[in-house]
């Protein structure tokens, strides 16, 4: 039966910790100062002012967020900036019990894709939902795909021009 006598020496986590096997560590300093450019620059400026800025292509009749200077469908420059509303509908969501580096969370986070009102159908961005409960059962009871939500902003003086200027999206009565 193929494959035969495959190689590979498995180790246990302790082997690395107890020094049964030699190891060496390296903390790379990989620092960057990314140029935001035209589209994302204006987008982050807008967030600082409590606005969600989108761009619109007239030929494709598309208003999209996050904004870009080109329409990737027809490859022409976008025609105009459009301020869209800070409300929308949940396209999909999940309930995360782990942080970005797999440390368990006491209170679960609720990531979601929010379709933003004022953009083309199905167009939105990823953010977190809030005020929807802090255990799985309650969250699954209160959060539904298609549900209307509204952005909750940081106070103006604490906003820096970042996606985190929006704290989360909370449910909105119909």
């Amino acid at each position: 039966m193929k494959p035969e006598n495959a190689r590979g020496v498995p180790l246990k986590d302790e082997d690395l910790k107890t020094g049964k096997v030699l190891t060496t560590e390296w903390r790379v300093k990989a620092d960057y100062a990314w140029d935001c450019g035209i589209a994302i620059g204006r987008y982050l400026d807008g967030l600082k002012e409590g606005k969600i800025m989108a761009t619109r292509c007239r030929r494709c009749r598309r208003t999209v967020v996050p904004p870009r200077v080109f329409c990737e469908w027809c490859f022409k420059p976008m025609d105009e900036w459009v301020e869209v509303r800070d409300t929308g509908r949940v396209n999909t969501f999940s309930v995360s019990f782990y942080s970005w580096d797999m440390t368990p969370l006491e209170k679960p986070e609720v990531p979601a894709i929010v379709e933003i009102d004022g953009c083309s159908p199905g167009v939105g961005f990823m953010h977190l939902l809030g005020e929807v409960g802090d255990n799985l059962e309650e969250i699954l009871r209160r959060v539904k795909v298609g549900m209307k939500v509204r952005a909750v902003w940081k106070p103006a003086d604490q906003r820096t021009g970042a996606i985190t200027d929006i704290l989360y999206f909370k449910p909105e009565e119909e």
Binding site: M1, K2, P3, E4, A6, R7, G8, V9, P10, L11, K12, D13, D15, L16, V21, E25, W26, V28, Y32, W34, C36, I40, Y43, L44, V64, P66, R68, E72, N91, T92, F93, S94, V95, S96, F97, Y98, S99, W100, D101, M102, T103, E109, P111, A112, I113, G122, V123, G124, F125, M126, H127, L128, L136, L140, V145, A162, I163, T164
Partner: protein, 391 residues
């Protein structure tokens, strides 16, 4: 048809393990040696090397392709790395196919390697860096989010119960027990049931722990040869009849995740080249990419091997079992064998290679097989890479 016909003549693989003592170079060398020995070739017979390996952030070496070069036998040879995220494991074969089909070379060694265990504090932390630094990374996103969001969308649109999706884990993890290289500890035992899967820890709902393929170290390799050389090397060459790959927009939050159009376009490209008009009849065994349980069903629909939303029902009818009409993931897949990302894709191509030659032993599917398909997926729900093989 102006290009040379190309066949796979040899395959090699290492065990998939959670933490390997070997360096990435040593893993690549072990897989390459097995592939060459399996068809009685040496590096003198190899004219070019195509390496597939995923983010440098895992092995912890910048320009990882260069670091791995002497592990892939590339010293003083034409050597090129290709990188399409998780799809690299199958794309590296497509890349190798172009090396030979274009007439540049008569042989090409395809090597795929991944050593995720070097990443601290946890390999998942490296996945945070695949997200857009301006609009997504500040949210503290981890890889499971995007899968859970897609899985939930797929389940909602087609009303698929969790129990059905859990069956994929059971099928693949039990299949994986028959694979000599399967990773220890990822399958509780031969008695695994849907109930066990749904009682495992909820990590990022609706993804349960036993629905996620493990983090792994491992390597796999294949030897490609032109028709002239292949016929000299083996009496059972497996022809690369179709190759296809497509990349969708990176604005993944502007597309509906319930259906992988990029996989469909990649499959159509490969089918057109292989002269396949009715894939559901002409493909006899398939290895779709299954990093998460739902993803196998999601990809079977993208590969046009099931209508949209139909894959779960075919699963329940046993169509995708090893003794079914269209065996899917007979190897055990990423869920059952392990997921060293790019090496996992190449493991799938190797599985189809062994199945078509009738050498899969305990994993050999019941029905006769003449044509098989291997597929990988990658990036932000964005790239499909497909290879159609035939005897």
């Amino acid at each position: 048809m102006a290009y040379q016909r190309v066949a796979i003549v040899g395959a090699g693989i290492t065990k998939f393990v959670r933490r390997a003592q070997e360096t990435g170079k040593e893993l690549a060398a072990q897989a390459s040696k097995m592939a060459l020995d399996s068809c009685g070739m040496t590096m003198k017979d190899i004219e070019s090397v195509s390496l597939g390996t995923a983010p440098d952030a895992f092995d912890g070496v910048h320009m990882k392709g260069e670091y791995l070069a002497d592990g892939a036998g590339a010293t003083r040879k034409p050597f090129m790395r290709s990188f399409v995220g998780g799809g690299s494991g199958v794309y590296a074969i497509i890349h190798g196919w172009y090396h030979v089909a274009s007439g540049h070379f008569d042989t090409c060694l395809v090597v795929a390697e991944e050593k995720m265990s070097s990443t601290m504090p946890h390999p998942q932390a490296a996945f945070n860096t695949i997200y857009d630094q301006f609009t997504e990374r500040p949210l503290g996103v981890n890889l499971l989010w995007i899968f859970a969001l897609e899985m939930n969308r797929y389940m909602q649109v087609h009303k698929i119960p969790l129990e059905t999706i859990a069956q994929v884990s059971v099928k693949n993890k039990l299949n994986g027990l028959d694979h000599p290289c399967h990773q220890e500890g990822i399958t509780p035992g031969p008695h695994l049931t849907v109930k066990d899967v749904l009682e495992s820890e909820v990590m990022v709902w609706p993804v349960y722990r036993l629905m996620v393929s493990p983090v792994s170290d491992g390597a796999a390799a294949l030897v490609l040869a032109s028709e002239r050389v292949a016929k000299r090397m083996t009496d059972k060459p497996v022809w690369i009849e179709g190759v296809g790959w497509h990349l969708d927009t990176s604005y993944w939050t502007n597309r509906d995740l319930y259906y992988p159009r990029y996989v469909e376009y990649a499959a159509r490209m490969a089918y057109r080249m292989a002269g396949i008009t009715d894939p559901r009849k002409e493909i006899h065994v398939v290895e779709p990419y299954d990093p998460f349980a739902y993803k196998e069903l999601h990809h079977l629909e993208g590969l046009l091997l099931a209508d949209k939303g139909e894959a779960p029902r075919l699963l329940e009818k046993g169509v995708f079992n090893r003794d079914g009409e269209l065996p899917s993931c007979p190897s055990g897949g990423l869920l059952g064998v392990g997921n060293p990302i790019s090496a996992a894709g190449t493991m799938k191509v190797a599985e189809i290679f062994w199945q078509l030659r009738g050498e899969a032993g305990a994993r050999q599917v019941a029905r006769p097989v003449k044509r098989g398909l291997a597929q990988a997926w990658g990036d932000l729900m964005q790239v499909g890479t497909v290879v159609v093989l035939g005897r």
